[in-house]
C-alpha cells in the first residue's frame, strides 16, 4: 500500500514494470492457475505478485532475462500458495508449508538439484531465492510478506527438509 506507492518512481522503472507485465502475466497466471485451479484466485495471485514485483522493481536489471523470468515465476508461485493457504484456514502453518507448488520433471538432472525440486513449494522458493537469486533473508522476508524471524525459520526448515530428502535418496 503505502510501501507500494513509494516503489515505482522513475520513468525507467515504470517502463520496466509495464514490460514485465506484458511479458509474464500469462505465464504467471498459468502457474497460479495450476496451483489454485480457479481463474479468479489465480488472477488475485497474479495481481499480488505484481504488487510485490513493483515493490522490488529496483532489484530487476533486465526485464526480459532468464533471471527475471525465474524471479517472477517464484513470486507468482509464492503468492498462489499464500492464497491456497488462506483457503485452508483449518490447517496449521506447519502443514500449509507443505503445499506443493509447480510440478517439475526431475529426470536427467543432478541429485541435489532433483531434491530441491521435490521440496514443497514454499521451501523450494526459499532455496531458489536464497541460493539461485542470492537474496538476503531480509529481502526474501519482504518479498514473501513475512517477518525476518519467520523467514529465518522457513530457511532453516527448508534446509532441514532438503537434508532429509537427500538422506532418503542416499546422497548423504
Amino acid at each position: 500500500m503505502l510501501i507500494f506507492l513509494q516503489m515505482i518512481e522513475t520513468p525507467q522503472e515504470k517502463s520496466k514494470f509495464e514490460i514485465l507485465y506484458q511479458q509474464y502475466r500469462n505465464l504467471m497466471f498459468s502457474i497460479a492457475r495450476q496451483i489454485l485451479k480457479n481463474d479468479q484466485d489465480a488472477e488475485d495471485a497474479v495481481h499480488q505478485a505484481f504488487v510485490k514485483i513493483a515493490e522490488n522493481i529496483k532489484k530487476i536489471d533486465e526485464p526480459i532475462s532468464p533471471q527475471t523470468k525465474s524471479y517472477v515465476v517464484t513470486i507468482a508461485e509464492n503468492k498462489a500458495i499464500d492464497i491456497y493457504r488462506k483457503h485452508q484456514r483449518h490447517m496449521t502453518i506447519a502443514l500449509t508449508e507443505e503445499v506443493h507448488g509447480l510440478e517439475v520433471n526431475t529426470e536427467g538432472i543432478g541429485d541435489l538439484a532433483g531434491c530441491i525440486l521435490k521440496l514443497p513449494g514454499r521451501y523450494r522458493e526459499m532455496i531458489l531465492l536464497r541460493y539461485h537469486h542470492g537474496y538476503s533473508i531480509q529481502e526474501i522476508a519482504k518479498m514473501m510478506g513475512i517477518s525476518v524471524s519467520a523467514a529465518n525459520k522457513l530457511n532453516q526448515r527448508a534446509k532441514n527438509r532438503l537434508r532429509d530428502l537427500c538422506r532418503e535418496e542416499g546422497l548423504i
Partner: protein
C-alpha cells in the same frame, strides 16, 4: 554434509529445470477479467505519475498518524496488560503500542457502512494483518485494518499529535485518538468482544462517523 557452494550450484541447476518445464505454460494465453485489468491499470497509472505519487506520499506522511508497523517486537511486560484479553496497550514517550499476546484464527471483515462517496480501493494482507483502503474521488481515504493472526504483531500510534479518549461501541470500549491539528487524521482502535482481533480505522472523519463505521463492520462470508 551439504555445503553452501553445493546448494548454490544445485539451486542454479534446479532453477534451469524449473524454467524448462514452464515452456508449455508460457505459451498459453488467458483473457484476464475486467476486474483484474482494472486493478492492474490502477497499478500502472500510479507508476505513470511518480510526481503525484511523491506528493501523495508526503501528504500521507503528514496526515497518517497511525503507523501500521506489524513487525517483530521482542518485548513482554506483564504490567502492561490492561483491559484487552489478547491485546495489550502500552504507552511510550511518543507512541502507543498495541501488541498481541496470543495467536488466533483468521476471519475476514469489511465495512458495511461508509460515508458518501467512499468505495473500496484496495486490500493488502501482510502475515495475518489486513489493511483495506477506501477512497473518495477527491483522494480522501479511510484506512481500515484488522489483525487476527497475532503472532509477534504490534500496531503503533504516534502520540505526539493526538488526544486519547475512551468511547463505547456497543458492549466494547474503544480508544478514540482525536487529532490535535487539522492535517492529521482521527483514529479509532478497539478489539473484538473476545479480544482476539484488533481493529483500527484512520480517516479524516469525525468521531461519530468513525463510530458508525466501526459499528457496521461485518464478517466476510
Amino acid at each position: 554434509m551439504i555445503t553452501e557452494d553445493m546448494l548454490q550450484a544445485a539451486a542454479h541447476e534446479a532453477d534451469k529445470a524449473l524454467q524448462d518445464s514452464l515452456f508449455d505454460l508460457a505459451k498459453s494465453e488467458h483473457i484476464f477479467s475486467k476486474r483484474f485489468e482494472r486493478k492492474i491499470r490502477k497499478l500502472i497509472r500510479r507508476a505513470r505519475h511518480p510526481v503525484a505519487t511523491v506528493v501523495f506520499r508526503r501528504a500521507v506522511c503528514v496526515c497518517q498518524i497511525v503507523i501500521l508497523i506489524f513487525g517483530v517486537w521482542l518485548l513482554a511486560d506483564a504490567e502492561a496488560r490492561t483491559a484487552f484479553l489478547n491485546w495489550t496497550r502500552r504507552q511510550y514517550e511518543s507512541f502507543y503500542e498495541y501488541r498481541a499476546n496470543d495467536s488466533s484464527n483468521k476471519t475476514d471483515y469489511s465495512l458495511s457502512w461508509l460515508p458518501d462517496g467512499y468505495t473500496l480501493s484496495y486490500t493488502r494482507e501482510l502475515s495475518g494483518n489486513t489493511v483495506q483502503v477506501y477512497e473518495k474521488e477527491d483522494g480522501l481515504r479511510i484506512y481500515f485494518s484488522y489483525s487476527t493472526e497475532a503472532d509477534s504483531s504490534s500496531l503503533f500510534v504516534e502520540s505526539d499529535y493526538v488526544l486519547c479518549q475512551t468511547v463505547e461501541l456497543g458492549d466494547v470500549k474503544a480508544d478514540f485518538y482525536r487529532a490535535k491539528t487539522e492535517n492529521v487524521s482521527n483514529v479509532l482502535i478497539w478489539t473484538s468482544p473476545d479480544g482476539s482481533t484488533l481493529f483500527s480505522i484512520s480517516a479524516f472523519l469525525e468521531q461519530d462517523q468513525l463510530v458508525q463505521i466501526a459499528k457496521n463492520i461485518k464478517v466476510q462470508e
